[in-house]
Subunit: 277 residues, 2 copies
Amino acid sequence: MTIPPLYRPIGVFDSGVGGLTVLQALRRRLPHRDFYYLGDTARVPYGRKPPQMVVEFAIGIGDFLCGLGVEGLVVACNTASSVALPPLTQRAPVPVWGVIDPGVEAAIRVTRTGSVGVIGTKGTIGSGSYQHRLEARGLRVWSQACPMLVHVVEEGLAESPEAELLVRQYLAGRPEMDALILGCTHYPLLRKVLQKAVGEGVSLVDSAEVTAETVSANFDRPPRTFELGRVVHFVTGDPLAFAHTAAVIGGVDGEIVPLPVAELKAPSSEVLAEPRS
Amino acid sequence: MTIPPLYRPIGVFDSGVGGLTVLQALRRRLPHRDFYYLGDTARVPYGRKPPQMVVEFAIGIGDFLCGLGVEGLVVACNTASSVALPPLTQRAPVPVWGVIDPGVEAAIRVTRTGSVGVIGTKGTIGSGSYQHRLEARGLRVWSQACPMLVHVVEEGLAESPEAELLVRQYLAGRPEMDALILGCTHYPLLRKVLQKAVGEGVSLVDSAEVTAETVSANFDRPPRTFELGRVVHFVTGDPLAFAHTAAVIGGVDGEIVPLPVAELKAPSSEVLAEPRS
């Protein structure tokens, strides 16, 4: 008797719509797998919230998705990956991936001069998560928080004068480098403007793509006879507003389910302080 | 026998935290009155949503606040005031004020040359609501949508290089004028940067202040022996996130009550199309 395999869904979460770029990259590589996507739009943005607050959000979301029986958890948000990956990994009964390590590895692969840059939200850059990892591997790192770039993308202004102005301002102080990590899931949509600002000699490292590459290698691929995978999107804010903003990032393909924030209650801080052994 | 008067609360609503500037201005003038404030943070921003969608949001919110027995309704959001004031006024059993007409009157009072400017969200500027009213009164009007300025304020960057860059860009094409209407409740927080950009010869018209002036003239003031008025804030998104963003605008003084968006269901479009007589 041959028992046909059953595949559990893969959980992906982000503070809002940005992680849809990671989800799209994952689905291109694992088209027959099912996904749960959770966009915490009621509490977006994470980028300038205190780290401990973001940790609590991430733990609550991780518990929720693991409770649905996911086979693995992808933190498709640079801010949450920067501050919440260790506690999430300790807590979750399944493998957990963030977007930082894949981005770091990709930057190491592409740089020839050893000088790289990284841009992201205040939370991501402030945590030093990219910088510490890159420096530990012997690279010279320039970093810059770009708080307005998420909004430029979500306003549908990725190729506008506003985008060009802000990008030029944020990159004005950079030294010589040959790779720039896009440390925020929204930034790949600014690729054109960013490439123009840094010049063709600098490789842009898209963490969404490299994360999907790393993560997908860890999951079995159902045979082609399987139907194309489905996605359920949980949204803590208004579903219509989510779909409206998501249109800027290529839209939503699948069901959108409203999820009250109260369902994502993280355990008390005491429990958070004492990770499960 | 003297019957002591009882004062019903006044309802104020906005898509998010911006209307708190109007609420603050109202409370300075009516310190002993109670207010309900509703911030529709689950569906913010309104500025780039289709007008009919904003009308439905506004009707749902108006019905909710009127159901709580308010004595009057203040639409403290330029986008909603621009597109939803006629249907709201027809529907509500109490007086309704927006922020457009007070801003227009104030601009007419201060201009000497008859040339004025107005800046706002895409929704506000696209509706032409300021421009039509001002032109009907014989003024020359220059207008400009400034979609990024709300985000600059909410990121706490009102006095940053980003703010200066964007303001300079948005105002670059303006002709000679001697008054500029701040057609968005967030913009008064950019007053310093805006005044620097336009020069001291241009009066900035703050609709929050002039709306509060107009509205407060219509309400009885309880005697000083009354306790200071209270505010209940209803928030459709996450209460913590609301308080966090509101801190940028001077914070919240009063209770914050989570309100599911589902409680704000507007009637069907058919009902909307046929206003009550």
